[in-house]
């Protein structure tokens, strides 16, 4: 069994081994071993130049990573958590996402920016954001959300081959998830969504930390003979419209599970797209299970109430499936 954390670490190690232009930089990625212990041991293996601790200066080191990419390197930038990425948004939005276009195609920015995202660990309002859907608003970026150990192992290398900036969001609750991983597991495609469970009655669309939630809900629903298809988006920008529409064309019903706040969520985008492209396929409006629109509270019971849960997904599916089952 391999944990998501170990898979991520193996992916970084492989990248450092295979391409000497690759290096890891971020706060405490070296001696500390990473805020979430993802890079533990890599400093010893690759040295302080390629596993590069930075001071607390998110704008500075994210911008430096972008500059290094312009200079021919392939940086993996770790922002300890998505919450701190707000300090680096100018660099991400105004530079990384924009330079290629502004320069008329001359300067691409082959950088990968990884960060931990999400709530559920009682870290309260400043440490529990789920901003991956929000970031997916920005043209010029590609946004990934590995939900499985296999994707944690395989998305990084593919992302590093992308000539343009890629953000990878690792949900904090996934690091300890373990599953079997083939010895030769390696790069995976990052262009397509994946069906994690096939079903006929409803499509539950999820990504990252909400995939296990969706699968749990699907299990519970199976007991009520509701047969759910679970679609893992995997890539949040660009969205795999075909996968979404194919599934919805089959089930005629969908529920989107998204840990982002409801208003302006990625779930809203999916609703809009399904309506635009499959309006007449739908037997019910697409439903959303998102986070409550509150800064995430510390207290366990309040936090749990704020975030999507299998129970809330089950309830939403029941509503969508309605009297038809």
């Amino acid at each position: 069994m391999t944990t998501y954390r170990e898979a991520m670490r193996a992916a970084i190690r492989e990248a450092l081994q295979r391409d000497d232009r690759v290096f890891l930089l971020g706060e405490d990625v070296g001696r500390y071993g990473g805020g979430f212990a993802v890079s533990l041991g890599l400093l010893e293996e690759f040295g302080p130049s390629r596993v590069r601790d930075t001071p607390l200066s998110e704008a500075g080191f994210v911008g430096a990573g972008i500059g290094a990419a312009l200079g021919g390197m392939r940086p993996i930038i770790e922002i300890m958590t998505v919450n701190f990425s707000l300090l680096a948004l100018d660099q991400i939005v105004n530079n990384a996402a924009t330079l290629l276009h502004m320069s008329g195609g001359q300067f691409n920015v082959p950088v990968v920016i990884r960060m931990t995202t999400g709530g559920g660990r009682q870290l309260a309002a400043q440490h529990s954001h789920s901003l991956e859907g929000w970031m997916a608003h920005i043209p010029g970026l590609r946004v990934l959300a590995p939900a499985t150990v296999e994707d944690a192992r395989g998305m990084l290398w593919t992302a590093l081959q992308d000539p343009d900036p890629v953000l990878i969001f690792e949900h904090g609750s996934l690091y300890n998830v373990a599953s079997d991983l083939a010895d030769d597991a390696g790069a995976v495609d990052i262009d397509h969504a994946a069906i994690r469970r096939t079903g006929a009655d409803v499509t539950i669309i999820a990504y990252g930390g909400t995939v296990p939630t969706a699968l749990d809900a699907a299990e519970a629903l199976a007991a009520e003979s509701v047969d759910s298809e679970v679609l893992d988006l995997r890539t949040l920008r660009p969205l795999d419209d075909a996968a979404i529409l194919t599934s919805v064309a089959k089930t005629h019903r969908a529920v989107v599970v998204d840990e982002g706040w409801r208003t302006g969520s990625l779930a809203a985008e999916i609703c809009a797209r399904v309506m635009e492209s499959a309006f007449y396929d739908l037997d019910a409006p697409v439903a959303r299970v998102c986070s409550a629109e509150v800064p995430v509270p510390y207290a366990k019971h309040l936090e749990a109430a704020a975030l999507p849960s299998a129970e809330r997904v089950v309830a939403a599916v029941r509503e969508v499936v309605g009297a038809h089952v």
């Binding site: 001696r31 805020g35 309002a125 440490h127 510390y298």
Partner: protein, 334 residues
């Protein structure tokens, strides 16, 4: 080994020195309990303790008045306690109870108290500094004779928000006391791996801010430096910066294998334990009879015990209140 300043200070006002000891001990014992309660899963989330650094907040807070404002970091149980938030309310907060100082919504990293002008509890490194500048600006614009004290770690110095805040405070000549708690590490990053120039007080010169370094393990030194700075600020001489040289005895948080520093280094600093130092000084001066010390310890232990009992007995905010406090209850604006 007792410093001349300690000798004189104790001689002049032994009661005050004992009170400083008591304050430091309150913080120490409270946090020791927190660590245990964390292991017992009563407290969750991130927990950052201040053990070893108590002289800093104790010395500074001793010269801060009720109209002054305080801004702190996620390592702020001590500051909150010293500022006057009841231990009960802090502990209940960490238990996630509605009786907590933030009704359980903030937790360890976000303690707030309107009454004592304690403005958090900020989990974004350097995120509190601009707030401190603004609080001081408000005081200045309103003609209030108050000081805003802003605590932050030496790790924050690398952040742009530090730079912008220092410049604004100096440019606008604001009554801010910047208290840099230099415990030599930002998580696992030693100061010399985060700053190209490690003399932090000298950095303040780049903003024309008066600054000096202080032995942060000696509460009397801290208090005296803070008094000097606060007096100068109240006299209108603009922002001041103190580099308080200290050390955290424990891990950064509950998830820290401490691979970045040696046991020997930790032990060396523990030899300068601010609580033990002041206790020894009082003893040397014959100002801490056994029964006084016992009573002091007992009072502190009682306070902590009560806080835990209070927290245990606390209630949960009803879930239907989840969305409250996202926006103000629509009464007249404050």
């Amino acid at each position: 080994m007792i410093t001349e300043r300690a000798r004189v200070a104790i001689e002049e006002d032994p009661e005050h020195a004992r009170d400083l000891l008591r304050q430091m001990l309150r913080v120490r014992r409270f946090e020791e309990a927190c660590v245990e309660l964390y292991s017992a899963t009563k407290i969750r989330g991130f927990l950052h303790v201040y053990i070893g650094e108590e002289a800093v907040a104790t010395g500074v807070m001793s010269v801060v008045g009720p109209d002054d404002s305080v801004v702190a970091t996620y390592r702020e149980h001590g500051h909150a306690l010293l500022r006057g938030i009841p231990a009960t309310a802090i502990m209940a907060e960490m238990f996630g109870r509605v009786e907590g100082c933030c009704r359980g919504r903030g937790g360890s990293m976000h303690l707030f108290d309107r009454e004592s002008r304690f403005f958090g509890g900020n989990a974004i490194v350097a995120g509190g500094l601009p707030l401190a500048v603004g609080l001081a600006l408000a005081d200045k614009m309103r003609g209030r004779d108050a000081v805003t004290v802003c605590f932050f770690g030496e790790g924050a110095v690398a952040e742009g928000e530090f730079h912008e805040s220092m410049n604004l405070a100096a440019l606008w000549d604001l009554p801010v006391l910047f208290c840099c708690e230099n415990n030599l590490y930002a998580m696992g990053t030693a100061l010399d791996r985060s700053e190209s120039q490690t003399d932090l007080a000298l950095k303040a010169a780049g903003y024309a801010v008066a600054a000096w370094a202080v032995d942060g393990m000696d509460v009397l030194e801290v208090e005296s430096a803070a008094r000097r700075a606060v007096d100068a600020i109240r006299a209108g001489s603009g922002p001041h910066f103190l580099e308080l040289r200290t050390y955290r005895f424990r891990a950064h948080s509950m998830f820290d294998p401490e691979r970045y520093r040696s046991k020997a280094e930790v032990e060396q600093w523990m030899g300068r334990d601010p609580v033990a130092q002041l206790k020894a000084a009082l003893e040397t001066a014959d100002e801490l009879p056994d029964d006084t010390w016992s009573k002091l310890q007992k009072d502190v232990d009682d306070e902590v015990r009560e806080a835990i009992a209070f927290a245990e007995a606390g209630h949960l905010e009803p879930v239907d209140q989840l969305e409250r406090f996202v926006y103000s209850d629509r009464v007249a604006p404050t």
